[in-house]
């Protein structure tokens, strides 16, 4: 499956902070065919550092999509049956407008003058894309980690536009621990002199700070068990452990594909996301949702622990919503949602098929 990222530009988007971003670009890819009734569309929502290239082989770079194991002919999100869409999030750096985009008023990158964005803003822009594609109601929205937050936000914000929501390894709001790890990443970036208050475009980017932020991130994505299994105490060379080498490699790779300011904006959006904000309870947030839910968590995920998924499930069940929940056994920590393909394929395939049957 050869794929190509497309860009659509909208005149403007109104943001939660009160300001308007104009114009706004959205990078997206699609896989499979939209059927005549337009009822087989699934929006896949990427995690923090993901992008629109979810599946297949990129026409130009040859890169494989980040969820290629789950999306394609005969896979969990079966592109022989469904029309799958994935777009880069607002505030990102992979084609959709973000701090690295050019501000038309100044002709320079926005940098830190880019307005603060929220998870609901990101979802609002996704809704504009879905409308643009002529789809009134999605069969499903699905995503892991930050993608799970968006999947929940979709069901809450657009109850008539989503038949099913699949939040995987996610939460309705960050815990202090999750905020804390994000803050360490942000401080690492801002402590790098090359960050220069965000004004580094066309100059040397804060690569060391961003790499450190990514290293911290990778620790939180693994588990004690998976790190012991993967690295042990093996030495790479005389003065470097295997795990150190791995983290440095991951960090250095990351700076080539990710913008430090996007890191700041997106982690803030995640930290501020709270479905209970302004409401008496999480259950109240789900007042009016109409979609089914498939919630998946992983036993060894300590960054987005199972209890967070369970909180969501309990709030939904309290409203007698149609919700399936499975806590999958795993030793891979938060990474599990990208690793346990066969189990998730089984769950997603059955859940989508029954949702599609009900709608047809």
């Amino acid at each position: 499956m050869i794929t190509e990222t497309q860009i659509v530009q909208f005149d403007s988007i109104a943001l939660d902070c009160g300001s308007t971003l104009a114009p706004v670009d959205v990078a997206y890819e699609t896989y499979g065919e939209l059927n005549a009734r337009k009822n087989n569309a699934i929006l896949v929502l990427h995690a923090f550092t993901g992008d629109a290239h979810a599946a297949g082989t990129d026409k130009i770079t040859g890169a494989t999509g980040w969820w290629d194991s789950m999306i394609g002919p005969g896979k969990g999100f079966d592109t022989d049956k469904y029309f799958v869409i994935c777009s880069n999030i607002l505030g990102g750096c992979r084609g959709t407008s973000g701090p690295g985009s050019i501000n038309p008023e100044t002709g320079c990158p926005y940098a830190m003058s880019f307005p603060p964005v929220t998870i609901p803003d990101m979802v609002r822009l996704q809704k504009m894309l879905v409308d643009h594609l002529g789809i009134e109601r999605l069969l499903a929205v699905a995503g892991g980690s930050m993608g799970a937050m968006q999947a929940l936000q979709w069901a809450v914000a657009y109850p008539d536009a989503v038949a099913a929501s699949i939040p995987i390894a996610g939460t309705a709001r960050h815990s202090p621990q999750q905020i804390a790890f994000n803050e360490v990443g942000r401080q690492a970036i801002m402590a790098d002199l090359d960050w220069n208050e965000g004004d580094y475009y066309g100059k040397r980017p804060p690569a060391r700070g961003l790499a450190v932020a990514r290293m911290v991130g990778h620790i939180t994505y693994m588990s004690d068990a998976s790190m012991r299994e993967k690295f042990g105490r093996r030495l790479r060379d005389q003065d470097q452990f295997e795990v150190e080498s791995y983290l440095r490699y991951r960090g250095s790779q990351f700076v080539d594909r990710f913008d430090a300011n996007s890191y700041l904006y997106i982690t803030k959006a995640m930290d501020y996301f709270d479905l209970t904000a302004g409401r008496p309870s999480l259950s109240a947030a789900f007042d009016g949702v109409k979609s089914r839910f498939l919630v998946i968590s992983f036993s060894s995920d300590w960054l987005y622990p199972s209890y967070q998924s369970l909180d969501v499930v309990r709030a939904l069940r309290g409203r007698n919503c149609d919700v399936a929940y499975c806590d999958l056994p795993s030793t891979y920590g938060h990474d599990a949602f990208l690793v346990h393909v066969s189990e998730q394929t089984e769950l997603v395939r059955g859940f989508l098929a029954s949702t599609f049957r009900e709608r047809s």
């Binding site: 309990r314 919700v323 399936a324 499975c326 806590d327 999958l328 769950l347 098929a353 029954s354």
Partner: protein
């Protein structure tokens, strides 16, 4: 065995009886639904809104892959989440013996079961069910059976304690299977239904 007078569905006689009782398009909650085969059948053939609860992860996966919305949890916790009168039928078949707090489960089932004016099958305290075997527990199941006898004597199970005709409270299939095997006619199969299935259908 009992094939002659107890029909089977998906290889189980309790499923046949439950499926005969449940009305189309009902909201059904199956506690301890296993791999969801009964719920999937009911969803397909009776268009019910099917939900399940199952504690064993591999079974939960099987059930969800069948398209059944199953909650991975133990029964006590699962019931506590639910609003009152959320379901038309609450099924508990071959599961009560697994519960740590069976009476709590029964009360919660009554709470989440919808109150409706409908035909209510006769409640028979277990000791009065024809040929009930609980007074002669099988050796390997003595503890469970003794517990079931206590339930049978509990006021919760006695219809006369309810102002209106009470909820059907029937005990566990494994215990109830013996009388059905011995039963000789369809009426016995019907009484087996009452004993085999915990169905909440109140009036």
């Amino acid at each position: 065995v009992s094939e002659a007078f107890v029909p089977k569905l998906l290889g189980r006689s309790d499923y046949a009886i439950i499926s005969a009782i449940i009305e189309p398009k009902a909201r059904v909650l199956d506690l301890g639904c296993g791999e969801g085969e009964l719920l999937a059948w009911l969803a397909e053939n009776k268009r019910v809104d099917a939900r399940g609860v199952e504690i064993e992860g591999s079974k939960v996966r099987q059930a969800i892959s069948r398209g059944v919305s199953v909650f991975h949890s133990d029964i006590e916790d699962a019931l506590a989440d639910l609003p009152d009168q959320a379901f038309d039928y609450v099924i508990l078949s071959q599961t009560l013996q697994e519960s740590r707090a069976p009476l709590k489960v029964l009360r919660e089932m009554l709470r989440v079961g919808r109150q409706r004016h409908r035909r209510v099958p006769q409640l028979r305290p277990l000791e009065r069910a024809p040929g009930a075997s609980v007074h002669r527990p099988r050796a390997q199941n003595q503890a469970v059976s003794a517990r079931l006898v206590r339930f049978a004597q509990h006021p919760l199970l006695h219809r006369r304690r309810f102002r209106k005709p009470g909820p059907v409270a029937a005990l566990d299939h494994r215990e109830a299977h013996l009388p059905a095997r011995r039963a000789a006619d369809h009426a016995a199969a019907e009484s087996f239904a009452e004993v085999a299935v915990f169905l909440v259908r109140s009036s």
